[in-house]
Amino acid sequence: MKVALFATCLVDTMVPQVARATAVLLERLGHEVVVPPGQSCCGQMHVNTGYRREAVPIVANHVRAFAGALSSGVEAIVVPSGSCVASIHHQQAAVARRAGEHALADDAAALAERTYELSQFLVDVLGVTDVGAYYPHRVTYHPTCHSLRMLRVGDRPLQLLRAVRGLTLVELPAADQCCGFGGTFAVKNSDTSTAMLTDKMANVLSTHAEVCTAGDASCLMHIGGGLSRLRSGTRTVHLAEILASTEEAVTPQQSTEPAVPS
C-alpha cells in the first residue's frame, strides 16, 4: 500500500526520529511511504487556544499538501500522533465550515476519512499486531487522552507492545489520568499542569520501567521533560520508535534521555 506520512509540526521540528521510525516501520512492513513536502501542522494548537479563524489557512495548507498525495495513489495518511488525528477528524472541517469555507470543509472531511493514527492503522487497516519488533526493555504505556477518549484506540497499542520480542510490559497505575500537557494549557496554567505531571511521573516511576511510551510525542515531551528535570533515568520513547526497533537496528534514543546537569 502507498502511504503518506504526516509527521506533525512538533515531531518534524523537535523529535524527527519519531517520524523516521514511523517511516522505517511502514517500509519494513512492505509499504511505500511518501512524505508530502508542503506539510506543516493540522491546526490543533490554534483551534484549541481560540484562534479558530487563524487555523483555517493552516487547514487549507494541510489539505493542499495531502490532496495531491491522494490523487497520486496514496491510500492512507498515517500520523504518529493521536491528538493531531483527533483534530483532523473532529476540528478541521468544523473550523472551515464556521469560516464559511465549505469546499475546504468538504475536502478536509474527505481527507480525514483516509487519516489514521498509527496504532489504528496497523491493527485495523493492516491487520497486524506483531510487527516483528525487538525491544529488550521494561516499558510502561501511557494512553494519551485524545487517543483514549476521542479516537478510542482502546488496547491496540497494548496489543502491538505485547507482540514485541524482549519487551516487558508493566501496567501504569491510574493510566487514564491526563499528564497535564493539554497544549497551551501547559503554559497558561503551568502550575496546575505541573501538579498533574507530578502525579503522572509518580505513577510512571512506581512501575520501575526504563521507558514510558505513548502514541503522542507532545504528551511524551511533557512527561519526558519532567522525568528529565528530575534526573529520573526513566525516559520517554514514542510507540513508533519501539515498533521500529529490531535486533538489527534499535532506533536512536530520543532527545529526552536524562540530561546531565552542567
Binding site: 487556544t49 487549507a60 477518549r149 493539554g182 497551551t184 503554559v187 503551568s190 501538579a195 521533560g225
Partner: protein, 486 residues
Amino acid sequence: MTAVFLGIPTAPRGVGHLRGEESFPDAARGALRNGQLRANLGHATSTIRGKRAHVVGELTDWAQLREAGRAIKAATMARLDEHLIALEEQVTARGGTVHWARDANEANEIVTRLVRATGTTEVVKVKSMATQEIGLNEALEAAGIAAHETDLAELIVQLGDDKPSHILVPAIHKNRAEIREIFLRTMPGVDPGLSDDPRKLAMAARAHLRERFLRARVAISGANFAVAETGTLAVVESEGNGRMCLTLPQTLITVMGIEKVVPTWRDLEVYLQLLPRSSTGERMNPYTSLWAGVTPGDGPQEFHLVLLDNGRTAVLADEVGREALHCIRCSACLNVCPVYERTGGHAYGSVYPGPIGAVLSPQLTGVEDNASLPYASSLCGACYDVCPVAIDIPSILVHLRGEHVEAQTRTTPEAAAFRALSRAMSSPRLWRLAQRAAGLGRFLARGKPTMPNALPFPASTWTRSRDLPTPPAETFTQAWAREHGG
C-alpha cells in the same frame, strides 16, 4: 448569533457569586500549595469516582438512558418558552404562584418581599445552586432576614464562614477533623467531646437543626426538575433536610433556573436514574420529594415558584454553548476532572466550579468577565465521558476560547504570535524558515541534550518545571527530501 447581538443581557455584576476576584491560574497557584486541600480532594474524588463507576456499570441501558437524557434536554431548550408557559399554568392551577425574575437582583427582591409578607425574620433553606448563584442569603441578611442552610455541607460552609467548592458537596474541601473543629467552634451547645466520626458529626447537625425545622414558617428551596405538563417540582436529596423544608413550614418559595423544566412526567424516569448514580454514586438517593402546587392538609399551604433567567437566555442564544444548559448538576464532571481534583472549586471563583462551571459561568456572565475559565482545562475529555446528559464540555471550552479571542479589540502579544505562526504554517516556504529558526535554538543549549532552564517568557512557563529537548539540526521532512531527492 450571539446574545450581545440580540440584546440579551448576561448576569449582572455586583450581585451573586459567578465571578472570582482572581484569574484561574492565580487562584489555582495558591490552592495547589494547600496540601490539606489536595489530600481532602484526592481522597473524596477518588472515593466517589469508584462508586459512580460501579453503579453506572450495573445498568445495561446506561448509553440509551444517557442519549434520552441528552435528547430530552435538547428538545426542551428548543421550545423553552412553551414549556415554561405550560409549567406556569399547571402550577397556578394547583394553587401555586409563579414569579418571573430577569436577573439575580429581581429574584432576590421577589423572595425578600415574599418572606417579609409572612412577618418572619428567619427562613430555612434546602441546598440550592440557583440561590447560591444569585447571592440570596446576603440579600436576605441585608433585609434583616436570617437564612439557615440545612444541608450538612452547606451548614459546614455557613458555620465556617467559607465558600462552597463543589456543586453537590460544597464542603468537599474540608475533612472530618476540620469539620469537627468548625462544629466545636460555632455550634451553640455542642458536645465538647464531639469526635470526628462522620456519623457523630451528622448527629450533631441533626441536633443543631431539629428545633429550627420545627419552628420554621418559611422555607426556600431550589428544584432539580419541574414537569411542564403536570406542574410537578422535584427536589432530590439525602439527609431529609429537604423534606423538612418542603413539608413543615407554612410557606415554600422555590427558586428555579428556567432551564430546569422538563416537558413530561415520563422524562423523570430517565433523570431519576441518571442523576443519583452520577452524583453520589447511589442507585437512588435516600429521598426525592415531588409536589405540584398546594395539597390541603399536607405540607406548605402557600407555594411560590420563582423562575430565574440571570443570563440563561444569553447562554441559550449560543448554538454551541447552549448545551451547557442541559446540566442536571450531578457533579460527575468535577469528580473526574484532573484540574478540579488538584485546585478545588474555589479557584474557579464561581458557585459553578469544575468543567461544567468552566463552560457555564463564562456564558452566564459573558466570556470577558470569566475569561480565564475556558482555559482551565487540559481538554482531556474525562468530563464528557461521564456526563449523564452527554454535554460535550471540551468542545464548548474550545468554542468559548474562540469567543474570547474574537472579543479582543486590541492585538495581544499572544494573538500576534499565533497570527505569525498561522502565516508560517500556511506557507511551506515560510514554515521551513520558521523551523530553521526554531532549530537555531540548539545553539542556546551549547551541545547539551536539553535547553537551558532560564528561557524568556512564555518558554519559561514550560522550563520552570520541565526540561525542553534541544531541537535537532535538521527536521524530518528536510532529511527525507534530501534523501529522496525532493
